[in-house]
């Protein structure tokens, strides 16, 4: 894998910020876009732009073809059984909201229970809370150890005959932990409980095979995997998606409409009300092809080296606490300089050209776990370099001195 070559594909990376070369370490929030993805968007609007499905004309057919090719690409990328299991959403948040609503309507009765891990992003907590309030359900929390690993043994204890679903993230956006979702799914399935995997932070780092994992649902966001914003996916096993009622009503999701009776479209359109983000879907198709051209295995291997290097270098500085030391981690490092506020550290790094995220990272329960108000988070992608990590570390040393 030639990183310098890859960097050339991302025009944004070559700019200077406050006169310093940009070091973009906010990849867990969103990834940058390669030129081919940018081109695909312009190309769509200059060549094919037309609303998809049911158009009789040439452009509409071309646009529909791209949209449906994107669906097929996602199907292959995560190895789903059928294209009908791939629902386009505007992101993982909408995917989880769709599922939480529909699942609640279909299966949840008062007193039923859901299990959610303590390290979830708010987007995998709040939709379930809303549903639980509506349906009178109870949320049980699967805790994690201080090193950032889930207490998997607890799962068996939390499961009871009223447990209806387990919701867990594949990769923690704050701690970097790669959870052993395969084993969690096995445990849940032994009790006939379906599992949602939030793959928003996994899709860009590791190969996902939904059939091998045997997860029942999976959510992902396009913009985290080099596609544009506003496109995401809800994967669901076909029999579940068949049973679940639609989340939103509108055009494209119906078979027939009358004021007496409306019938719904076949999967996956039943869950795609209104005009979909077909340009976004096209960009996702291009982005996934781009990732395939480099190879997720190569990306994973390289990012692991970045993570290892960054962890070692940051630890060497001293007086810095890293949150999340799981054995299996994705390229995310959350830390605080002892005695300094994360916001101050982030502001100083910014002026050195280093883009990191500070705060709670939409995971307040994790902050509560460590009794902190936030962290500085550096998250790496395939286009980052070891030299950039050196720049980050020089920045940390500088901030440490200034904030002493």
């Amino acid at each position: 894998m030639d990183v310098q070559q890859i960097r050339k594909d991302f025009p944004i990376l070559s700019q200077k910020i406050y006169g310093k070369p940009l070091v973009y370490f906010d990849n867990a929030a969103t990834t940058q876009k390669p030129q081919c993805v940018l081109d695909s968007i312009v190309n769509f609007y200059t060549t094919y732009n037309s609303n998809i499905h049911r158009g009789v004309h040439f452009l509409s057919e071309k646009a529909t073809e791209i949209y449906e090719n994107a669906r097929l690409k996602v199907k292959e990328f995560i190895n789903a059984k059928s294209r009908t299991e791939i629902v386009f959403t505007k992101g993982s948040t909408e995917a989880i909201n769709t599922l939480a609503y529909s699942f609640g309507e279909a299966y949840i009765k008062p007193g039923d229970e859901l299990i959610i891990s303590e390290m979830e992003h708010h987007s995998n907590i709040v939709p379930w809370q809303l549903m639980a309030q509506r349906r009178g359900a109870i949320i049980r929390v699967l805790p994690f150890y201080d090193n950032g690993e889930l207490m998997e043994d607890m799962l068996e204890k939390l499961i009871c005959d009223r447990t209806k679903i387990v919701c867990v993230t594949y990769v923690s956006n704050t701690l970097g932990t790669v959870n052993d979702v395969e084993s969690i799914i096995k445990t849940a399935h032994a009790h006939n409980i379906p599992v949602l995997v939030d793959a928003a932070q996994a899709i860009q780092h590791l190969k996902i095979d939904v059939q091998k994992l045997d997860c029942d649902f999976l959510a992902l966001s396009g913009h985290k995997v080099y596609a544009e914003t506003g496109i995401g996916v809800l994967y669901g096993k076909e029999h579940f998606l068949e049973e679940l009622p639609p989340y939103q009503g509108g055009g494209d999701m119906i078979k027939n409409v009358s004021f007496d009776l409306t019938t719904f479209a076949e999967l996956p359109l039943k869950f795609e009300a209104g005009t979909s983000n077909f340009v976004g879907a096209g960009s996702l198709l291009t982005a996934l092809n781009y990732v395939d051209s480099i190879g997720l295995d190569n990306i994973a291997k390289y990012e692991e080296q970045l993570l290892e290097y960054a962890t070692k270098k940051i630890e060497e500085i001293g007086g810095v606490t890293i949150y999340g030391n799981a054995k299996h981690k994705a390229s995310i490092v959350s830390f605080n300089i002892d005695g300094a506020h994360h916001y101050d550290v982030g502001m100083i790094l910014d002026k050195l050209g280093v883009a990191v995220r500070t705060g709670t990272h939409c995971t307040e329960p994790i902050m509560k776990h460590y009794n902190i108000t936030g962290t500085v988070r550096a998250s790496f992608a395939m286009y980052n370099t070891f030299e950039e990590i050196d720049t980050l570390c020089e920045g940390i040393i500088k901030a440490k001195k200034m904030l002493r």
Binding site: Y343, D344, M347, I348, G359, T360, T373, K398, M402
Partner: protein, 142 residues
């Protein structure tokens, strides 16, 4: 000094800094020397919760009809900016505070810190300073 005279003075002080980190060094120094709020005044009533940093603010109307503000933050650069805001508004009359136009933050290049999306508590703090002043000037009229 009037509010605007103090603002101009601050702009003058900051004009010597070309480097961002020098500006931050100065803010950190100001933050460290800020006469902070007493711990028992750091109540839930006085907290302005931001996702990034937290700010506490307390205000007292003195007998001479000027306002004394006390504030604190858990982030030191935020606290430095607070020190500047307090320097501008402290010992001014509620009427002057209400009608003041705040321009120095822009001028010294820190306006990003007052963006509503920053969630560092500063914008809410300025709003709160004005609320206090409004409430005090209403008291005056009675």
């Amino acid at each position: 000094m009037t509010i605007n005279e103090i603002q101009d003075q601050i702009i003058e002080e900051f004009s010597v800094y070309d480097e961002w980190l020098d500006k931050y060094e100065y803010l950190i120094e100001l933050g460290n020397s800020l006469d902070t709020i007493e711990e028992n005044k750091k109540t839930p009533d006085n907290i302005i919760q931001g996702c990034q940093s937290r700010v506490w603010l307390d205000a007292v109307l003195e007998d001479d009809n000027t306002v004394t503000f006390r504030a604190d933050s858990d982030a030191i650069i935020t606290k430095g900016i607070i020190a500047l805001l307090i320097r501008v508004f402290n010992h001014q009359t509620p009427q002057d505070i209400v009608s003041a136009e705040l321009y120095f933050v822009d001028e010294i290049g820190l306006s990003a810190n007052l963006s509503p999306t920053r969630a560092n508590g500063l914008l809410a703090m300025i709003k709160q300073i004005r609320y206090y002043a409004l409430a005090f000037s209403a008291l005056n009229k009675k």
